[in-house]
Symmetry: D2
Subunit: 475 residues, 4 copies
């Protein structure tokens, strides 16, 4: 997949309690969450006695071929799919992390990012603990092992009280599945159910980052794991505890703007609905004199439809996305202009020629891709290009599980909207307002949102951020 | 790629005359034509002295990695991408076909299907010719070699006069590129141009099945190769001859309905425009009492937008397509209902629930996939499902380059529309009329269309069809 | 496999008549002949109705994995393994060559080299025949198809009478296996038998280039195919005809010196026996004042043992061969001396130190490898290195199926023995005499040998050699 | 590599201090040690600031391709190649193990096996430590991190004093290389030197399990790391300390009998010399009335030559080994007798027919392979087969780094020599005596040997052995 000028989520997680083919359900669930991370994937299963693991670089469907799944046969399973920066240690950090400890065997998969992991890690190292990954997730398993609590659920609750930041977690022991969310509810985690088939004793309980994973495995959405909640599923059934009082909720609004699949329910709300409203609101706030509304596919499509519906300007697929993108592409030396973008997107001259175009995208990161797209649309004959973005300018990095470039690479952190317009070469440029975005996503209804990347106002302390990153550990 | 219940085209072709990186332009052109055939691909280049070939099973971007392209360095190139039935001999039939003959070395790539190839082949075999592929294309190179004409252009014209059926061809010799279409113009073939860069003597002339290939390599569309025309590009420049008087034109209308990319100009007409008109015409002919219009993605999208625009019923992406589809998928034994379809499509409950849905697709082949989709839409809460198809019922196989199932598998050849409706479980079902389809695609303007698969009335004799297929030659 | 400074054979062939798992026997047979060609391999099977083919680049065991063999299920089979020069057309020339003709389907596998193929090819091309490979083998199938004989056996006999040179052939039609050798018997071809198991009607008849292939599949050696003989195995049983009177025999002596496996019977004689005799004869002709006899492994081992036994000087494995050689090796920039040779061979200092060494090899091609080996043996402490070669100096290229470098690269064609000694840095150098070699290999007993590469006196006309090679056809 | 009925060593290690291409030297060193472990391999390098790691399943040459080595560029390096039982966690246990701790980053590679690892591990777990591998090596890094010593050398010495068993270790920190052997000197570890090239300040110091690794990288053997010694190489030069007084030496005699390459110096003695003496001694102790001496290749060759020399019976390569063995082999259903053995070995009928054969092997593990070989030799015509084994009967498992089957699978632990003879079907069977083996290997000269697998008398306590293996942790 050619690196794109987009923000990246860092993970999707899935968990299955008690199904004769738990490993296959985990694999299908991960497949449905593939968009949340395409770099590596892993599954850990339990056959009731021991845990079995397989992790590798690549896409879910390429990693978990028949013979690999055969070796993972089990009735309990958790899975993880991950995006991360490339590098020699990438496999090292693949999840789930599986360990043996005084609490027995366990494996843990984490979506999110801790903000006090470095601090805790420093403290643990000074006491003689060793770390084998560079992942913040490893501190959680250390804390569980070091907890004085005797049972795994209590030890886990104990550990979760010590970490700060964003975490939607699933954990597996030989006989139980655990699922927990941080007290602020940054990242989604949903619980679903597959009714017991004849001959089975118990319903299958499943967890996943997004409900679209349930659809593929025939599970029904039941409810979200609550912020501050730890759910344990075992022979005793489903038990829930609040390991921490929930704090002011700060669910990641970017899940609705861009990350999640439109067919998912996230934080109790249909993503599709938010996305269409984002477009409608954008049309109200930032109208344009134009002949057609054109999305930057695929992620801008729903917002563009909302914009078109609200504005009455016809929607057109003026940019066609090529879905046969291989890993690396060989470019002629005598470069085709905007080659990288052209490989993925092709303008439809018959639609664009002579037209004033409203171009809808869901974010501008560095601005370089937007510039190429605007230029490409113009060269296909558009008379005017009005860029509209279905969220506010992104001015601050995320520390809660989204891979954002540093502040100096974020164009909106360094340029005014007018300067960005000039940079990308659009005739006009507008972003959605903060209030407009929150309204469109139903802020205050089912949840309230974290908008730190748009405001720079973070809902947690940022312990690690001040610290110098460990230079000796190459990521 | 999971086999889908769709018609398949059999090829895309591309040719490049004189560019310092002809092999890379051919490769990028094939990539842009990947949708026309995903089974195998091949490129033959000339460095002015000799031809070099590489053919393999798989996708263009997987086959032509850097080191393979390095061995193909040349200034002239042709390429081919192919869909065909699986089988042990698949690579055998990959194109281009390269041969040595009394006319020198040449290689040929063919989109289409000959209808008198078996007859000619039988005759040639009886004279002692040997055949190394099961492809109809091989007879053309035999005819060229056996022609009494002395020059390659004349020998090629001679050969093309002897074959009947559908062929858009490109051919390469060490110093020339040839491009030709059959006299009825069944399949598309466009000519484009890349202006000479400073330091180069000549413009680069390119040919491709669809103009979208030109966009990626920075070429401008110039004109279509005409039915009955043979174009030769060589040191002497571009020369054209009509090797045969053009016959009544019968361009494949299904290129507009489904095959071609929406961003292509095909038979001189924007595919996007036809497809939207198909949807609008369908709305006029077959309105529905409904709340939303939902396409079966990706191919049904544009027609659905036309239907929505014409009918005033809102368009919604009620089915989400998963683009991370690997080769084979492992299914739980205790099958998830409609698993195969669910892997590719997921219904958006929040959009579908309680709604009366107009579902737009561009064809129904066997009906089995449509049945699953209708059931899936219903199970996501739709109150009613009105299926609308943007072309008439497909009742007859194609013999001109489209891979269609046999008549007994084509549902519309065996059931009435009402029976099909019952089979797929829709509340109502309507197809576009023949006249409506022809009108939407501008029949009689730039070309007239072959509609044999909808009417059973074929524009050519069907010599081979009566014959028994050679049983000893396993395909 | 790193290219080595050795002569290469070009093929091994195998054929199976009537076995329920013919494809597996062919595959195992090819595996046993892997040393005769490591570049590509192919198998064609018949299920009684149609032929099935699979050919690919690589080693037999890597190509014919379970699922590939499953698609080749048949009761008749032929196979081919090939060495050839690398290049983009390598797969093109992989054998067997399968064609459809007026004689039905057939596929042919060839070990050897024709010396009048270019002449015939030119004639056939001028009559309009097309050639799809650059292999001399393709002319044979053309000749079969063009023959006026009605039956395949007669047409094959007819064709074989028209070609000149070295050929040991196996051919398959849907219901028969054919095996033939040229009238001079250049290359080996043996016939064997697997007794019918209970429930089977007929013994299984097998053919292979070397009898070691029989050992692996449980077959017993029966006899060699005779020079000028064509054997047909079909429902009627085994029939033999002499399509041509046998000419003066000229079996390739280098099969005994180097090519064939020591555990094979070749031309009716145990290779092991010849090889030991070569060493004994060398000891008689070229004694040395030395402490130990050391072979260049693996091929020099048996001759070295013969030398040691005859001379009474102790044999020692002073050079250890590394069998874990991968495809390409990455060398430090600051080169280790004689790195390429060291990867394959390592001197045993404890054996060599202070010793006068007789080093036995079976050929010196360019001399560069020998030079490195001599230097390496010295640097491990040898006091003196006496090089002995178990055949005469190679002064002339082979045109009968052995890949030899051109005359100007053959060191012995350009330098005297004394000059070669200086070049490789040995204290003394002796080759075996022509008479000694012939005697050691039993010349005149079971067969007489071709020694053209040692004498420059060729047993056939060399029609093609005078001709200019076709420049347009890149090999 | 088909699993063979042989004992397996578990590792080879290599370390490089300060070379501009340390990663390439490590890779070549591992290649030379490939025979010590073919399952996985890993390299960790330092560029002076940070450590970089790559570990994977497979052979060294397949894992460390050019682009992988490019990412490992460094001046310090350690490497490890490993044999282990297959299983889903195999990659998990690949070495080196790299960790971050209060002593900084470090990575460790281990050849050998600890006998109190489980005990220590249990204690550490009860204190809250977590374990991510099932390897005994992980306890060492925990002990280093938990040591109260402040410097890495002291902490390492401290840790090594706490573990018991067999360990030859190399360790890397960002600026130093460490090498140590256990106080009994079970496993080999040699130090070598590459003289500084012009422009470099310092000689390169290298460590490797066997000296054959030095030959390939142009290093000279300097001395063995001593039992109980810890060598640190850093900017300050080479420093040595005895972290523990050396105990009675118990070097693994099986390194000389079978494991090590014959071209290596191991425990200060040439392996080739030991192996020849083993054969000579065997001839003295267990003569046979026979016509030829035949080794089971490759490992039995040198002993067979010694036997032949001492006995005066001629040596013959009566069994040919096939070196083109791929991963898995497909067997015909109607099995060829002794198929698995035949794939690897083929008898030379011309040598064996009518002969009384002394067959020399270096061990009999389960006896099943020997039985097949004896049968195969007989079926090739041998009149009598006298099996001679160049060491005593193996009656007890190894706990010091050799993968031996359990006692109940070791044929000599359960049957008398006469019973074994009957089982394998030999006419006579003799093993070398314990005293004979020790004498042949120079026991008491440079070292004294561990012979526990022949005697059941172990030189250490066997702490873990009594314990139940952790059942929850699947290996």
């Amino acid at each position: 997949m050619p690196s794109s000028d987009k923000f990246h989520d860092e993970c999707g997680v899935v968990a299955i309690y008690s199904h004769p083919e738990a490993e296959k359900l985990a694999y299908l669930g991960l497949h449905a969450l593939q968009h949340r991370g395409q770099e590596s994937a892993g599954i850990v299963t339990s056959d009731g006695m021991a845990l079995h693991v397989h992790k590798a670089m690549g896409l879910v469907a390429d990693i978990f071929v028949e013979e690999v799944l055969a070796q993972l046969r089990g009735t309990l399973a958790i899975g993880h799919t991950r995006y991360s920066t490339a590098g020699d240690s990438a496999l090292l950090n693949a999840q789930p992390i599986m360990v043996q400890s005084n609490k027995g065997m366990m494996a843990l998969a984490h979506n999110g990012n801790l903000v006090n992991a470095q601090e805790i890690r420093g403290r643990l190292e000074s006491q003689g603990s060793i770390f084998q990954t560079t992942s913040d997730t490893e501190v959680i398993v250390h804390l569980i092992a070091l907890s004085r609590e005797q049972t795994l659920p209590e030890a886990m609750a104990d550990a979760l009280r010590k970490v700060e930041g964003a975490f939607s977690l699933v954990m597996i022991s030989p006989d139980r599945i655990f699922a927990a969310r941080d007290p602020r509810g940054f990242r989604p985690l949903a619980m679903g159910r597959i009714p017991a088939q004849s001959g089975e004793k118990q319903d299958t309980i499943v967890f996943a980052s997004e409900t679209s994973a349930f659809d593929l495995i025939g599970a029904t959405f039941e409810r979200d794991v609550k912020p501050g909640e730890l759910i344990v599923v075992g022979p005793e059934g489903v038990t829930s505890r609040l390991y921490s009082p929930p704090l002011a909720q700060s669910s990641c609004i970017f899940e609705h703007v861009y990350f999640s699949r439109p067919d998912s329910l996230v934080f109790g709300r249909a993503v599709q609905q938010s996305r269409e409203e984002l477009g409608r609101q954008l049309a109200r706030e930032a109208p344009a004199e134009a002949d057609i509304v054109v999305p930057v596919p695929d992620s801008g499509v729903t917002a563009a439809m909302g914009y078109a519906a609200e504005s009455g300007i016809p929607f057109r697929f003026g940019l066609i996305r090529n879905h046969y993108i291989g890993r690396t592409f060989i470019e002629p030396r005598q470069t085709v202009r905007d080659f990288g973008v052209r490989l993925k997107l092709n303008p439809v001259r018959s639609l664009l020629e002579g037209k004033r175009v409203v171009l809808i995208d869901d974010s501008i990161v560095r601005g370089t891709t937007s510039r190429k797209i605007v230029r490409m649309v113009r060269s296909a004959g558009a008379k005017a290009v009005h860029m509209r973005v279905s969220c506010p300018p992104t001015i601050s990095p995320c520390f809660y599980g989204v891979d954002t470039p540093s502040k100096k690479e974020l164009i909106a952190a360094n340029k005014s909207v007018e300067e960005i317009r000039q940079f990308i070469g659009a005739d006009s440029l507008s972003y959605l307002s903060l209030e407009g975005m929150k309204k469109a996503c139903g802020d205050g209804e089912k949840t309230t949102y974290c908008t730190a990347c748009y405001t720079g106002s973070y809902p947690t302390n940022l312990v690690d951020v001040e610290e110098i990153q460990p230079a000796t550990l190459k990521r």
